[in-house]
């Protein structure tokens, strides 16, 4: 480990990294599928509003849906082609609104561009709008609208912009490749971010298993740009915003708060690169870099893939092993298992990993034991919860107690607890269920209270 890699957060786990298969493979362009299914809600927030008609011809990069309100981003055509249909298509959790586009076969697929924004002259407001127009969301997997994240709340001062190049999920190597291949875009993006936030400095945090990326970036920091590249030891989930802030700056984001509460904004390195790539030309996101890997696929690699590429086409293209059992979108720690091959690649998909019987067979046999209170989860939880106690409470459905006494809502579902649990208790899954139940319960209580207040107000008015 290098001398500068002492900085890290407490707890966490060490899943096998499994990055060797793809980390040295350069990013390649993935072919266009005969039909692309573009969900209108690839981000957290309101779905975008379509601005095209069925049957309309669109050019690659053309705006096809515009943001519907602040918590929403624009959507652009991933390919030149025809809008086949606008309607419901299969999404991660049920059917979602979307647009089908049939790319023109053999088209040159040139990218349409819009209004350029210059990093040194544009106002912060213009940059924010440009980011929203470009449809930028967190490409690390969260898919949170980037312009919302970058809006500094009044009264807060940002002193550091952190670029998240940690990529702590096993198998994934997209950020690694982006750092090696898109350094200019990254630094360009940083210019926008610094301008936008008014922060005096920027730190790029990279885990020590990517020394080549660190060296590469360090050697190419443009003169005058206040950027440092820092190496942090390998540990999951360092890529989580809060963990990275603690690792690099030793600050803790308050429970229920935002990084801006401690003067920080964290942006994923691929997102930064996209900003740096798109804004100078006014373009929008039509593709992204993903890692296709895992023991279940044949042609593993890092691909620049059009948004909306169906999973089935993707897997057919790279080829899969016969005993494939599970495909998940994202890394194995936080990624979601694909329920069907009709799902498509979205902006938040950082990878497609496939497992065969070899990996999952053992998993299926591993029966669940009762919690033996070994405390491994307590040692793993990066935010110092007590997953064991939470799991026991969840088992008997005492959800509200989990939230009120044991900080359930602070859990960001990194999966470290489930990963280490020798009793194979699906802790994270139970926490998700519990969180949903608590939110529902609280919303119901709040609306009931509001109704009560309304009744009282009306009563008061009448007397």
């Amino acid at each position: 480990m290098s001398a500068s890699s002492h900085k890290t957060f407490r707890h966490g786990v060490h899943p096998p990294e499994q990055k060797d298969d793809t980390k040295d493979l350069p990013i390649r362009q993935f072919p266009f599928a005969p039909s692309l299914a573009v969900p209108l809600s690839q981000h957290i927030g309101k779905p975008a509003r379509p601005v095209v008609r069925e049957g309309q011809e669109v050019r690659r990069g053309q705006l096809i849906a515009e943001p519907d309100g602040v918590m929403s981003v624009a959507m652009h055509a991933p390919a030149s082609g025809t809008v086949k249909r606008i309607g419901l298509l299969p999404g991660g959790s049920g059917m979602v609104p979307g647009i089908w586009i049939a790319p023109f076969p053999g088209s040159t697929q040139e990218v349409t561009e819009g209004t350029p924004v210059h990093p040194d002259t544009a106002s912060p407001q213009e940059i924010l709008q440009a980011i929203q127009r470009a449809g930028v969301v967190g490409l690390g997997g969260a898919a949170f609208p980037t312009h919302v994240k970058l809006t500094v709340p009044a009264g807060k001062v940002i002193d550091t912009v952190i670029i998240n190049g940690v990529e702590c999920e096993p198998y994934l190597t997209t950020d690694h490749r982006v750092m090696l291949e898109q350094d200019a875009d990254i630094f360009h993006g940083i210019r926008y971010l610094l301008r936008l936030t008014g922060a005096p400095r920027c730190i790029i945090g990279v885990e020590s298993n990517k020394p080549d990326a660190v060296a590469h970036l360090q050697a190419r920091v443009p003169a005058g740009l206040p950027v440092t590249v820092e190496m942090v030891p390998v540990k999951y989930p360092q890529g989580a915003e809060k963990m990275l802030i603690t690792a690099l700056l030793g600050r803790e984001v308050p429970s229920g708060g935002l990084p801006s509460d401690v003067g920080v904004v964290v942006v994923n390195v691929a997102t930064t690169a996209e900003i740096g790539r798109l804004l100078p030309h006014g373009g929008g996101i039509q593709e992204r870099v993903i890692t296709i890997g895992g023991p279940g696929v044949k042609k593993k690699g890092n691909y620049r893939i059009p948004i909306g590429t169906p999973l089935r086409f993707l897997l057919e293209t790279v080829g899969v092993e016969d005993d494939l059992t599970t495909v998940f979108l994202g890394g194995p720690m936080m990624g979601r298992a694909a329920t069907s091959l009709d799902l498509s690649i979205t902006k938040g998909t950082s990878g497609v990993i496939a497992f065969t019987k070899r990996q999952t067979g053992k998993e299926a046999q591993a029966r669940e034991y009762p919690c033996i209170r070994c405390g491994e989860c307590v040692e793993a939880c990066p935010i110092f919860l007590n997953p064991s106690q939470l799991g026991l409470l969840a088992r008997v459905g005492r959800y509200e107690e989990m939230a009120s006494d044991f900080h359930l809502l602070d859990c960001f579902e990194c999966g470290s607890c489930s990963f280490v649990c020798p009793a194979h208790i699906p802790l994270v899954h139970r926490f998700r269920v519990a969180k949903a139940a608590v939110r529902k319960e609280r919303a119901a209580a709040a609306s009931k209270q509001a109704a009560q207040k309304e009744v009282e107000r009306v009563k008061a008015e009448h007397t």
Partner: protein, 193 residues
């Protein structure tokens, strides 16, 4: 013969001859109020306090009855004293700390029928303690009661989350835990001899 030293009385009443685990006094609150650590410790504190007051009062009553020569009124006098002590404590707490009063709820009046209190008064009389020893004895007994109650509550809070067979849930499980605690407390036997 030499009277027992104070530390011996304290150790004995709190650990070796624990009121609950060795003497079976105060079993009802022990089983009834030991499902939450919070209530258990408050109940323990209330009982300890009432014990101290009772020890003082019954010691005086006993002296009085001995002088008057009416030992047969002892039981009635004791129970009357305890009932009024609890009443007084209840009123006092209600005045000074309504929050504590609310937290203790029905447990306060229940202390009247808590055999640990009357048991304390009777044992203290049987043992012929002087005033100082009586108070130490009450303190030790109260601490022992609280200790047993709180330990029990801790285990029961954990058992609430356990996957117990339905048949066992409730009193049967509590009694089994009490038995194990009682066995564990046997380790203290002989302390202070």
């Amino acid at each position: 013969m030499t009277p027992e030293p104070h530390w011996q009385i304290l150790l004995n009443s709190a650990l070796v001859n624990n009121f609950v685990l060795a003497w079976f006094l105060g079993i009802c609150p022990f089983l009834g109020v030991s499902n939450k650590v919070g209530t258990a410790s408050r109940m323990g504190a209330a009982v300890t306090f009432v014990m101290l007051v009772t020890a003082l009062a019954t010691w005086g009553i006993n002296m009085l009855l001995d002088t008057v020569g009416a030992p047969y009124l002892r039981l009635i006098a004791f129970i009357a004293v305890i009932a009024s002590t609890v009443q007084l404590v209840e009123m006092f707490i209600k005045k000074t700390s309504p929050a504590l009063f609310k937290a203790l709820g029905i447990f306060l009046p229940l202390i009247t029928t808590n055999c640990a209190i009357l048991g304390l008064a009777l044992l203290q009389t049987n043992k012929g303690y002087d005033l100082g020893r009586a108070i130490i004895f009450a303190l030790g007994s109260g601490l022992g009661f609280t200790l047993a109650l709180v330990l029990m509550a801790g285990v029961r809070e954990r058992l609430e989350l356990a996957d117990m067979p339905d048949l066992v849930k409730g009193t049967a499980a509590s009694l089994a835990v009490a038995g194990i605690l009682s066995v564990a407390f046997m380790g203290f036997a002989g302390l202070g001899s």
